[in-house]
């Protein structure tokens, strides 16, 4: 046994404390350097105006990376040609928008001059309807199950959230590998005596898998929101229902769903916005095909602006403005839903 006093031994807590002190050293130094000018500024402009000073860096960042690009996009949408710099592009007014909206019937893309844009709109609408419905339904069911006292609950919560952490391109490549002619799924089908299915050649199958993969990849995020909502419902309501011997179905429809509704609204609107912006997963999975069966609006914008031989930035920018307006309306809906939730 050693006679040395225990206080002399290095404690793990002490090491961590020392490390923390070293880590915050630069922060302390920076604060010391900034203190005098900030005090001077506060004396000069007054305490109330100091809030704007603190907001300024964020405003500058937001303006530079959000508002300026939006402005440039709007400028591009009223110009033509293939030049890159706005100063070299001829002003064409609303010509790009007129070209986009030149249709015999908006319900028949083949009657439109720019039919690919309208096929993109129709596909995106179809995708959003199916994807949001499936997303909300499966997220809700998963959240309800994960909220129950089941064995391995923590493990399953992690499992359902895991795909959210993957890159959309990785997700699409994995599923492409599973679904291709000689992929895993067709291997399983042929092993069971069936015929290979060319999933990416049939428009119906291609859209189905686009929706399926999207739901698989993002469901964990929405499940998490709903799970948080479920856990916020007071337990005494369920206890009261149990004492009254209320049937489970009635508990679900009269207690759970009404109290979860504000979260559901947030999930629906967020899924709508995300669905309308869909690009990477579907692009990698199906390439927009077969034909244009899974061509989405964002892919149309990308191809018009960058992938086509004549890089038509003006038309792509006009389509972006249209999409931006739709997203703006959806975002207003989200704000309204969030406000309603707070009330």
């Amino acid at each position: 046994m050693s006679d040395a006093p225990t206080a002399a031994r290095p404690q793990p807590g002490m090491a961590a404390g020392a490390l923390a002190r070293v880590a915050v050293l630069p922060v302390g130094l920076a604060l010391r350097v900034l203190d005098p000018p900030m005090r001077w500024l506060q004396r000069a402009i007054g305490v109330r105006r100091m809030a704007y000073v603190f907001l300024l860096p964020n405003f500058a960042f937001f303006g530079l990376f959000v508002f300026l690009p939006i402005g440039i996009n709007i400028v591009f949408s009223v110009t033509g040609g293939t030049a890159l710099f706005p100063s070299e592009r001829p002003y064409v007014g609303a010509e790009q928008f007129a070209y986009l909206f030149d249709c015999g019937s908006y319900l028949d893309p083949s009657s439109c001059r720019e039919d690919h844009f309208w096929r993109g709109v129709a596909n995106t609408t179809k995708f959003v309807v199916f994807q949001v419905t499936a997303m909300v339904l499966f997220s809700l069911i998963t959240a309800l199950v994960l909220n129950m006292k089941i064995r391995g609950r923590g493990f399953f919560r992690a499992v359902y959230f895991f795909p959210v952490l993957l890159s959309p391109v990785v997700v699409a490549l994995i599923w492409k590998w599973i679904l291709q002619r000689d992929g895993l799924l067709n291997a399983a089908i042929t092993t069971l005596g069936g015929q290979k299915i060319l999933f990416f050649v049939d428009p119906g199958w291609a859209m189905f898998w686009a929706v399926f993969v999207s739901v698989w990849a993002h469901m964990g995020f929405y499940t998490l929101i709903l799970l948080a909502g479920l856990q916020a419902i007071p337990a005494d309501l369920y206890e009261a229902a149990e004492m009254d011997a209320t049937p489970r179905w009635r508990v679900l429809t009269r207690i759970t769903l009404p109290l979860l509704w504000p979260n559901m609204i947030v999930v629906i609107v967020l899924a709508l916005i995300k669905g309308a912006q869909t690009f990477d997963e579907v692009f990698v999975l199906t390439g927009g095909g077969p034909g244009t069966a899974t061509l989405m609006v964002v892919q149309y914008i990308y191809e018009t602006g960058f992938a086509s031989q004549v890089q038509n930035f003006g038309l792509a920018a006009a389509a972006s403005v249209v999409l931006g307006l739709v997203l703006f309306v959806l975002t207003l809906l989200q704000f309204a839903a969030a406000r309603r939730k707070e009330i």
Binding site: R113, L198, V201, G288, G289, S308
Partner: protein
Amino acid sequence: MRAVTPVITSLTLSLLCATVLGRPAAAETTTLRMAWYSDGNEGEVMADLLKRFHEQNKDIEVVLDQVPYKAVNENLPVQLASGQGPDIARVVDMGGLSRFALDMRPFLKDPGYWETNFGPFLEWMRPAGDTQAIPGFMTQLTVTGPFVNKTLFEQAGVAMPGGKSTWEDWAKAVKEVAGKVQAPFPLAVDRSGHRFYALAMSQGTKVFGANGEPDVVDDGFKRAAQLVYDWHKSGVMSKELWGSVSGTAYRGANDEFKNAQVVMYLSGSWQIAQFAKTVDNAFDWVAVPNPCGPGGCSSMPGGAALMAFKTTQHPKEVARVMDYLASEPVLAEFCARSLFVPGHLGLTKKGIDYPTASPEAAAALKIFTASAGQVSPLAYRTQGYVNSRIIFNAVISRLGQAVSGETTLEDAEKRITADVAQQIAERNKK
């Protein structure tokens, strides 16, 4: 702590001094950037040649940026338009990028050498109306043509059609072979406008009207489009290439061919090195002459060029690099090691030995070199036309829709005409 501080300070100062004063004479070295895509081993060969160039020219270093083919087609034009592009790049859309090209004549050692050896191909790189500029040279001349899995023909007991056979003869034969050996792709054609035009040329398309402007959808074009459409309906072609993606996306059948799933694959001479490596001894493959039609047997020429760009800050150094790479012995070595058909008239006349080529690759090179000699003037004109890729892209995008059953062939043909007119008008807007 007090004892340590002076030590740290002196160490830091020493390091700073060493960094600032001890630097080699880097300021005298000019660094150039070359964007490069590869189909086979040509990237490795180019890296080797550039290393050798640097050993002989210590004042110039060329950084080889190996990028995907897609990046050269999609990102490079934007980079160049913004003035941020590389000094040199290997490109296929020579006409489309000609507005960014550097006329190297004032900086070249002997512009006459370039005119003599690259003359016909320089037109492909020059901006419209320019008959003098020298912006680069062809790293390879390509010709479209079919590769055939000979082993599948032998296994099926079907005789391969001969040299002057028509597309219909081949379609019938490959369908029979595929049926007997259960191959899923009797005929695969790259989803590429360039490859479609190999068929269209043989069907007698004229591409241009009497006024010299594009008149894409003529009788020859319609015959070719109908063949592609019918082959998809009858199962000669699988929808997995032309019908499974949208827009202008390129789709090849390299993997399917090397996995012996394709009986006949219409691609081109640039695939030789890759097939020699990936197929190896798995099966016997051969290149065959382009099948014929009412318009003849011409295939489509093409290729990749190494072009210099006017945004470069070092035109003299760029010209020195280009002079070296375009010189006859260096280019001969490049083509021999990469298994490329040279786009250099002197080398074409002398012929190139391909010592590393396998017997299959050597035979294929012979076939493609012979095909290059039979390319029609119209095919050369189409390839050199500044808006050729607008036509090619409109064709694959719209024909793909017809093949997938989304539109009729007639609608697709009307859209092709409209798309070409609209895109050329947009490009001409000033």
